[in-house]
Symmetry: C2
Subunit: 376 residues, 2 copies
Amino acid sequence: MTSLSDIETPAAVVDVARTQRNIARMQDRMNALGVRFRPHIKTTKCVAVADRQRTAGASGITVSTLREAEEFFAAGYDDILYAVCIAPHRLGRAQALRDQGCRLKILVDSLEAAQAVVEAQAQRDPFEVLIEVDTDGHRSGVGPEDGRLIEIGRILHSGGATLGGVLTHAGNSYELNDPEALARLAEQERALSVRAAERLRAAGLPCPVVSVGSTPTALSARTLDGVTEVRSGVYVFFDLFMTNVGVCTIDDIALSVLTTVVGHQVKKGWVIVDAGWMAMSRDRGTARQRRDYGYGIACDVNGKPLKQELVMIAANQEHGILAAASGRLASPEERFPIGTRLRILPNHACATGAQFSEYRAVTKNGIETWRRFNGW
Amino acid sequence: MTSLSDIETPAAVVDVARTQRNIARMQDRMNALGVRFRPHIKTTKCVAVADRQRTAGASGITVSTLREAEEFFAAGYDDILYAVCIAPHRLGRAQALRDQGCRLKILVDSLEAAQAVVEAQAQRDPFEVLIEVDTDGHRSGVGPEDGRLIEIGRILHSGGATLGGVLTHAGNSYELNDPEALARLAEQERALSVRAAERLRAAGLPCPVVSVGSTPTALSARTLDGVTEVRSGVYVFFDLFMTNVGVCTIDDIALSVLTTVVGHQVKKGWVIVDAGWMAMSRDRGTARQRRDYGYGIACDVNGKPLKQELVMIAANQEHGILAAASGRLASPEERFPIGTRLRILPNHACATGAQFSEYRAVTKNGIETWRRFNGW
């Protein structure tokens, strides 16, 4: 049977048991809160993972690109929310998906984009459109009290589009690490998106969907009254960044990069491995968190963290440098001889996964290869 | 004719005229210094670019993975230096390339790896092996005065391997930004690698090749006496990081990411574009340099920097946030309406290119699509 000692490195390794546990944890939570769960597949871009999310009870998927929508529609997913405000030049490509039977929902947060949607659909089937609401000043969206919210709704509704509802993403949750602060932001995300929906309804406009989400708020919300669906992506694998946010532990992280020791600098206590930033990604998100994990921390080939913690302190394109988290690693060449296999837990599962075209999924019965894709 | 206003975004755009100028600049310099030039194709992983480097006078290529060696051998390149210390499990794959006629050179910096090479080639054709020398404490390599240098050479030579020479990479040049300091490091790189070669020769061992290089030192060396070849990669496109090092100007940068405006936050003066870190990469290398360029700076669709400089101050997976480098951008929605196309100059051409599977090469006659690849 193929083992992690046989395959080429670097490789993106998925611990399937942990993945299943993460999927169950989130789905159970959403069931208890009484909302639909629409996983964001941008984290994995992998049908094999999404199939497990669907089997556990997920309802539809969220995507960040039309390429994701096209790939997943071809794989049998037809309830797809494209959660990035639509660029007008993409409306034809979006319409083509709808023409094939895909229940694609698109997003706008401006009068201009709403107008472009209405114009593009003239004499075609209507688009289903959600309005992005800004509930935390993170990035995109129209404020829940902004007059443009109703204007956008009216342009869409009177122009014949199907007004699907409102959507928000409390991305500022990534900056937090305190359970109470996370719960407060989750409540803010809930309350302000429900407020936006109520304003639309009060203006006589339909607003069936109230869609919220981010992994930290989804795992911190105490009630989701008025919310109809939650979106979340990275929870499926988790990562070191999320341990610092406080919504998972090291033992929940289901993605790691398998690597091979190719050298040492004995006097410095360094172990040189063949996973550089091309494998780990350049993500250094933990640098600004309470614990900086460098480019990741090392586990043995079975995924167990090493007793003396080794951190990837630097990465070049195809080289990673591992050093002790504290002190100096003695006799690195004896403890980790050339050819030794290690697994590196990543800062950010979305970014690290994106460096690969496939996952090596470790199951009870051996290693499966799960295709993932990139591109737009 | 297809234009940059028609193609899907984000896209990796190559300015072919600038690329040709960068190629000519480096090759002319190497010719003047009297050394062979072996470009590192890890930056582009693109045969169309390497063909231009070869036409300009390059001699062989450098690679960072066996996948690169295999792809380029299939494309007609047979003089290939694999410049990462070999992991023993890869020796079979390396041998397979040699069996097909590829003049693949491999690298070691330890007794263990040298021994593994000798054992793997028993009853096979000999490997051609270079020894990595550490000339600046950057990463890998054996010190030029280290007794193991000669030991490694003896293991290889007596074991029947072809001892090809020594190789060094003064990666610390990336930390500098002063022409004198760069010239000093280039001289250190030269002198210490030549010293290592002389020690091998004095021990009766062959050392025909002395291979040095990094883009900053290659462009800063005043003499290369005793050096036989130079390697350099990122010079072909340059990037914002290299402008901070001081070896190029903004006008030399040949790679940019084409993006579309998808929204605004008017009060904040933000322009939201569809190039996030999935397109730019997570590389924030300029954060520790004299000028921090965020995730990149914006040009118009023709590649001309904007009069009021816009910096990508934040990036999510598929969103970039552009803001004025100083002050607040007034009326962003009027100056950069939804649908506007911009081009973002990247921090690091190697990392940004790696986010794409093809380049859109802008020539005098229109846009060509140049394939690039990733993976191992």
